[in-house]
């Protein structure tokens, strides 16, 4: 399974007992396979990599997932299409709102339901709050991987403010349960919106201090600049998405398709050209401020009116909704046959698409940098395994 082309060259056993290999340039290297994960301090969730090492250099990596496969997609057999929003949302604790949004987008498209303008704006606002939540959490994990404990706690302290805004408007901090087919279950008051604006202003000021540390600290730069480079051509070929793709210079952001209220907002995708770990960090930090701007825009343009439309009958047909989750392009394929139970729900998550790109960046890297590379794709294994 592992391509160890370099292992086919002559090898011998060193007096230390290690296997050593004579390379093409007559140098003698030690080839070993090191298991990385599924439990590792830098991994919040289980993913396993078999790293083929030549001394300290990784020459190949083999991913292994499937430790927490739950088979959520199969539950369409037991939950009707209205109830299934709750299942879709529980795919992950970070992208939960996005999963419910992608699912209802697909079902609404099949049923030709046009949601109200207020629904669209509120969904956009919550999606951007989720992005803020995700990126601040990721920055905290990155700081933790560096060993910057105070910075980690500072990032998560800021994230708490986002969770407070979510709790204020939806009642939930992780799972919001506000989306439903045809609209929303909860509306927000003008006071809540005012409070969000005030908190976002405060958050922006505090984030500047934190993000300047990430972008300017010498230790951070030495660990990330030039590490894990991925060219735009390879990123495209390998099907990468989200900040991972945009950090390689590819200007693709599904929000530009204009789903929900994004078509009425002004924004440009955040990109970087370097394609390394630092560029990925830079893109996510840029997206933090972009999300704050988008939240202000949605609140400024928030229309009045109802938050739901009547839903009649059952869906019949198929549709593939695509949305830009915090981690990248997520795909929601829904197929229905006119009964209240769907025949298929498929969720292709961003991390699933980014794994081949991750393997590509790891090849040729130093062992000590592998953890950083895994972290900079912002892997979400709960989503990946569903």
């Amino acid at each position: 399974m592992i391509s160890t082309a370099s292992c086919s060259v002559p090898s011998f056993r060193h007096r230390s007992g290690d296997e050593r290999t004579v390379m093409a340039d007559n140098s003698i290297k030690k080839i070993s396979i090191v298991p990385f994960g599924p439990q590792h301090p830098v991994l919040p969730e289980p993913i396993h990599l078999d790293l083929v090492l030549q001394d300290e250099k990784v020459i190949d990596a083999m991913p292994s997932i499937g430790f927490i496969h739950r088979g959520l997609e199969k539950l369409v057999d037991k939950r009707d299409f209205k109830e299934f929003v709750l299942i879709a949302e529980r795919t992950c604790g970070i992208c939960s709102f996005g999963h419910s949004l992608g699912y209802v987008e697909a079902v609404e498209k099949i049923m030709n339901l046009e949601t109200t303008p207020r629904t669209k704006y509120l969904r956009t606002m919550w999606a951007e709050l989720s992005r803020l939540h995700n990126h601040l959490m990721w920055l905290g994990l990155l700081a933790d991987a560096f060993g910057f404990e105070s910075l980690f706690m500072d990032c998560w302290r800021l994230r708490e403010k986002v969770l407070d805004m979510l709790e204020l408007t939806t009642g939930g901090r992780v799972i919001f349960s506000v989306n439903k087919v045809g609209g929303l279950k909860k509306d927000v008051t003008p006071e809540m919106l005012e409070s969000i604006l005030k908190t976002v202003d405060e958050l922006e000021k505090e984030c500047r201090i934190v993000t300047d540390t990430f972008l300017g600290n010498g230790d951070v730069l030495s660990r990330m600049v030039g590490v894990g480079k991925l060219s735009p051509e390879r990123a495209e070929e390998l099907g990468c998405c989200g900040p991972f793709l945009r950090a390689s210079g590819v200007r693709r952001d599904l929000r530009l398709q204009g789903y929900e209220a994004y078509g009425e907002l002004n924004f440009e995708p955040v990109t970087a050209l370097e394609g390394d770990c630092y560029a990925r960090c830079k893109v996510r930090i840029g997206e933090l401020y972009q999300s704050m701007d988008l939240i202000r825009q949605t609140i400024a343009k928030m229309p009045d009116g109802p938050i739901e439309v009547p839903v009649k009958g059952n869906p019949d047909g198929e549709y593939m909704a695509r949305i830009e989750q915090p981690r990248g392009e997520a795909i929601y394929y829904v197929k229905a046959n006119g009964s209240k139970f769907l025949t298929r729900y498929r969720n292709r998550t961003p991390t699933f698409a980014n794994i081949p790109g991750l393997i590509e960046t790891i090849r040729g890297a130093e062992l000590a940098d592998v953890a950083m590379m895994i972290l900079t794709i912002d892997p979400c294994i709960s989503c990946t395994e569903r």
Partner: protein
């Protein structure tokens, strides 16, 4: 072949008679696939198993990237496999039907990243896929029940 000729002779026919009555397979020409279904929002091109590699190669040459592959159960022992490709913000889909113990070819020789999707389909639905560049041999997903979506 001798047995077949004897049977045909007993039936008063020759091999040429049988061959001429056999329905020819639809020719897959450049840029045209067998039929199109789906909706304007989700166009789907239906293909046969034997046309898969030709169709995917053509799509690759047109610079589409692979977005996803998924299987769906349509009836007992009958499945659809949906291949989705993207170019900028556009998508296109290929769909083929698999019955019983049909085996399909891996497209990893054309799109190297297809191995995760193909292993997923194999592990969840038990559909056999030949010539994958990385074959996890049913161990991509560690499920308690083998092929739980079958």
């Amino acid at each position: 072949m001798a047995d077949m000729n004897e049977k045909l002779a007993a039936a008063g026919k020759t091999f040429a008679d049988v061959a001429s009555t056999k329905k020819p397979a639809p020719a897959v020409q450049e840029g045209t696939l067998v039929r199109e279904t789906g909706t304007p929002d989700m166009p789907v091109e239906e293909i046969e198993i034997r046309e898969l590699l030709d169709a995917v190669t053509r799509i690759r040459h047109e610079e589409w990237r692979l977005i996803q592959i998924c299987a769906s159960k349509v009836a007992e022992d009958s499945y659809e496999i949906l291949y989705t490709f993207g170019r900028a913000y556009d998508i296109r889909n290929l769909r083929l039907c698999v019955h019983g113990n049909d085996r399909i070819s891996s497209i990893t020789s054309i799109y190297e990243v297809a191995y995760l999707y193909e292993n997923e389909i194999h592990d969840l639905y038990g559909i056999e896929i030949d010539m994958m560049n990385y074959d996890f041999n049913g161990k991509l997903f560690r499920t308690v029940i083998p092929t739980p979506f079958r």
